[in-house]
């Protein structure tokens, strides 16, 4: 069983494993990053470190308006990326052994797989893939 | 006035060599001694500005001679001459008041540098 933070985006439920999370922070001041575009929306001062803020809804293909006032700081293993998410729900235990491959229509959207929870389908985020995508987008 | 030097060493070869170095540098070697005992008497008689003192010598060692010279003349300018590997003797000599030391084999520049430093001559 893996502790997972779940949040909803439009009609869908997404999960992020707690192991990948360093901290959840409340409304940090967002600073301007010259030439930032796309999913990179700015930077925050996190205990003196300058960290990039990535807009997860945009990355997942839902550039809608709903955003949670809290942001998720990933662990250094995942570059301490700061993720803007939508509607954080709660932390649940997810049985990863029942993880199903991601549905066809989520190809290339950083989804590791789908797990079932109380008759809900939770799309588990693929943090490695998020980093890959950022590398591809900004790294030329 | 030229610096007046006394060279103390039991080996004639070493005495000549040091004498040569000093004379070429324009110093005056006023007297030589082949052991510590002789050196003591001659020091009182000549009152040289500088003494180079071998450590291991018959009759009276360089260190004993040094100690006695310093006892009578605390400002005496004595430079010890030692061979490699006599560190503890050199240490004793420096503690007893030797102003500096030269380790054999030495070069003329080396000797003169040490002498200039302790006599304060440029």
């Amino acid at each position: 069983m893996a502790l997972t933070l779940i949040f909803t985006l439009e009609e869908e439920v997404y999960g992020l494993e707690i192991d990948a999370i360093q901290e959840i922070i409340e409304e940090p001041a967002l600073h301007y990053v010259p030439r930032a575009e796309g999913v990179l929306t700015g930077a925050i001062n996190f205990h003196g470190q300058v960290l990039a803020v990535i807009d997860l809804p945009t990355l997942l293909g839902f550039p809608g308006r709903e955003r949670d006032h809290r942001q998720v700081v990933l662990t250094p293993e995942f570059k301490s990326l700061v993720l803007t998410v939508s509607n954080i729900q709660r932390i649940v235990k997810l049985d990863l052994t029942t993880l199903q491959p991601p549905p066809e229509n989520t190809q290339g959207r950083a989804i590791r797989g789908v797990a079932e929870l109380d008759e809900m389908m939770v799309k588990l985020l693929d943090t490695d893939e998020i980093i890959n995508q950022l590398e591809n987008q900004y790294g030329e | 006035m030229a610096l007046r030097v006394m060279v103390v060493d039991d080996a004639l070869f070493m005495r000549n060599m040091l004498k040569d170095i000093f004379v070429r540098a324009g110093y005056e070697v006023v007297v030589e001694a082949e052991n510590g005992e002789v050196a003591l008497g001659l020091y009182q008689e000549f009152k040289p500005d500088l003494v180079t003192m071998d450590i291991v010598m018959p009759k009276k060692s360089g260190i004993e001679a040094l100690q006695e010279i310093i006892a009578s003349d605390p400002d005496a300018c004595v430079v010890m001459v030692s061979a490699l590997g006599q560190d503890s003797l050199v240490l004793e000599a420096v503690e007893s008041g030797a102003k500096d030391f030269i380790v054999k084999p030495f070069k003329a520049d080396n000797v003169l540098g040490i002498v200039r430093r302790i006599t304060g001559q440029a």
């Binding site: 301007y32 003196g48 | 490699l84 240490l91």
Partner: protein, 655 residues
């Protein structure tokens, strides 16, 4: 025992030993019967062997063991036959290669062919019976070298101590009486020459000399330790004196056996530090660490004082404590930076060898002079500087010097900068020829070329694809690499200048910041966003009135003396909304590819020192961002590098 913690130290120390080997061999070539050099070479190889065996790097241990044996043979004969010099150098190169492998976590490269070639030549009488079949030879070599044997005997018997010795942190003393920072108390470090006889006695003489100069507060080793015969290689002492440091240094240097005198506690506030460098190792004197602890302690005290003063609303006390705090922070800053400074000699060590090889290859007689190799510079900068320096030295030999001459590498401090110059006394450079070449290569039109002043014409060699070498030599064509040098210097926040005239040699001057962690910045704003530009990137600032700005086609330009300078809007470059132009246009004059350009900003917010924060992923991938700094209010301000920014937007073209 887990050896991985010593890995970095091993890598850096071995690199030093290899540098020493290179230098020694070059000297040896001039004095083939100099026993001291042979001995020193032997010791270097021996050290590498011990460390490599301890770390379990078998091939490096085997190779250095082999070189050590060979050198030991020369010690017996007292002479090194000249063919062996090349062989030694090849061996050192191979060691260097092995170290590269280890550094990049690759398996050690093969050394068999080198060892076989060794056995075939003068080194072993057994050579005569060797066949060319590698397998056979390998067996014999293996027996000869008996790796198991030295693994056990060498590695265990001698290597650990030696390695320990390198790991041991230099002891240092803290003052018994605490010196007020403003007083004339400072720490002096006296280093003895290697193998100084009767070192303890020498130490006593040094302490006596110090006692004559002032009040000797404490020392390590102290008089008692020296009297008991404690051997010493260096003496650290706290001294309070009214004499100048120069005076004291002179007096100490006159003592026979004193190799070097350094003053540690210089309260200058100019050196700086830190950049991207993973987990590197630096050796830090424990004394410096003690000072950190002391300063931290004082800062903690200060914090309580601030708390008290705040709750008591005692403004005088508050002001006073704040100024104390800022003094402590200055101090701390200074000491942190000290820990990162390394002398330039860390990278000049390779130069004698390079000069030697180049002289041979090009059949020229070239002498090398090194001046100021002791100048300290931040290690991160130093590492980036290695290749540019080698490039410049190569160019000097290949293109500057004709038949015979001297290459001088010198370094000196210029305020916040270090000036490193590579000069040759060769044929010099002709600006006229360079202008012509630039036109021939289609880099510019003839009128453009004519309009270049001589200084700018010389800088043409730094343009990519510019080469004036009539015949390209094996090592470099003129200009090959110069663009790389320029880029490297720029990326470190430095500048490159060339001074030359026909028949007058050439001087390539690199001016580099002492450190890159704390830099001076110019704060500007664009569309309400503050941005920082490193001062080293700013030639000057201008305020132009609307009438001074002209149009050349689509482009805006202005006149700066004789020169016509293009003007770009930073706001537009960043894709920010333009603010309606006022009467005055604020312009930062900077340089892109050796050409001056003006960068229009909305406002100047002032200059200040900034601690550069490294950028995390993916910010580090964005072109034109070289770091960020956090303002007093917690705001993040990004530091921009105009060149890549303009390049990326393709606003700048080589028309």
């Amino acid at each position: 025992m887990d050896m991985s913690q010593y890995r970095e130290l091993f890598l850096s120390e071995t690199r030093e030993h290899i540098n020493n080997l290179n230098q020694l061999v070059v000297t040896l070539e001039q004095e083939p019967d100099n026993r001291e050099i042979i001995d020193a070479l032997f010791r270097e190889a021996h050290s590498i062997k011990g460390m490599a065996a301890t770390m379990g790097f078998d091939r490096m241990a085997q190779l250095s063991h082999h070189l050590e044996d060979m050198l030991d043979g020369f010690r017996t004969t007292g002479e090194v036959p000249s063919p062996s010099v090349d062989y030694l150098l090849a061996g050192i190169d191979l060691l260097d290669g092995l170290l590269d492998d280890l550094q990049s976590n690759q398996p050690e490269r093969a050394i068999d062919s080198f060892m076989i070639c060794a056995s075939k030549e003068e080194l072993t009488p057994i050579a005569g019976i060797l066949q060319d079949t590698p397998e056979e030879v390998q067996t014999i070599v293996a027996i000869e070298e008996a790796p198991e044997e030295f693994q056990t005997t060498v590695a265990i018997e001698e290597a650990p101590e030696e390695f320990q010795a390198t790991v041991a942190i230099e002891e240092e003393v803290t003052p018994l009486t605490k010196a007020a920072p403003e007083s004339d108390a400072f720490q002096v470090l006296v280093e003895l020459a290697e193998n100084t006889p009767a070192a303890a006695a020498r130490g006593i003489l040094i302490l006596r000399e110090l006692e004559k100069s002032g009040e000797l507060m404490s020392s390590n080793p102290d008089m008692t330790a020296l009297r008991s015969g404690t051997p010493c290689h260096q003496i650290q002492a706290w001294l309070r004196t009214s004499l100048t440091k120069i005076h004291i240094e002179e007096a100490l240097l006159r003592i026979s056996g004193v190799a070097k005198v350094r003053f540690i506690d210089d309260r200058r506030k100019d050196e700086n530090s830190i950049r991207d460098e993973g987990d590197r190792t630096v050796r830090v004197r424990t004394g410096l660490l003690d000072q950190f602890v002391n300063l931290t302690g004082e800062l903690i005290t200060n914090r309580y004082m601030l708390n008290t003063a705040t709750s008591a609303r005692d403004w005088d006390k508050l002001t006073q404590t704040l100024s104390q705090t800022s003094r402590l922070i200055d101090d701390l800053h200074h000491h942190v930076l000290q820990a990162r400074l390394m002398p330039l000699e860390n990278i000049t060590g390779r130069l004698p060898r390079i000069i030697r090889d180049l002289s041979r290859k090009s059949d020229k007689k070239v002498a090398l002079r090194l001046i100021g190799a002791g100048v300290g510079i931040d290690r991160a900068i130093l590492e980036e500087l290695t290749d540019p320096l080698v490039h410049l030295v190569r160019n000097a030999v290949d293109h500057g010097i004709e038949k015979e001459g001297t290459v001088t590498v010198s370094a000196r401090r210029e305020k916040d900068l270090v000036l490193i110059e590579v000069a040759d006394d060769g044929k010099g450079m002709n600006p006229e020829h360079l202008r012509q070449k630039a036109v021939d290569r289609g880099l510019m039109t003839a009128p453009q070329a004519v309009s270049l002043c001589d200084r700018d014409a010389l800088m043409l060699v730094c343009q990519p694809g510019f080469s004036t070498a009539e015949t390209v030599t094996e090592t470099s064509g003129r200009g090959v690499g110069m663009d790389v040098v320029k880029e490297a210097v720029s990326s470190l926040g430095g500048t490159l200048e060339i001074i030359s005239a026909p028949g007058q040699g050439a001087r390539f001057q690199m001016r580099l910041p002492l450190s890159i962690a704390i830099i001076k910045i110019l704060l500007v704003s664009c569309a309400g966003h503050p941005l920082a530009i490193p001062i080293t990137r700013v030639q000057r600032t201008l305020d132009l009135s609307t009438s001074e700005i002209h149009y050349s086609g689509q482009k805006r330009v202005f006149h700066l003396g004789e020169e016509v300078v293009s003007l770009y809007s930073l706001t537009e470059t960043l894709g920010l909304p333009e603010v309606a132009a006022g009467e005055t246009t604020w312009v930062v004059l900077t340089e892109v590819h050796g050409r001056r350009v003006g960068l229009q900003v909305d406002h100047f917010l002032g200059q200040r020192e900034a601690f550069v924060k490294r950028l995390g992923f993916p910010l580090n991938l964005l072109p034109g961002l070289s770091g960020a700094t956090v303002e007093g209010n917690g705001h993040v301000v990004f530091i921009i590098d105009p060149q890549p920014l303009l390049e990326d937007r393709q606003l700048f073209s080589n028309d």
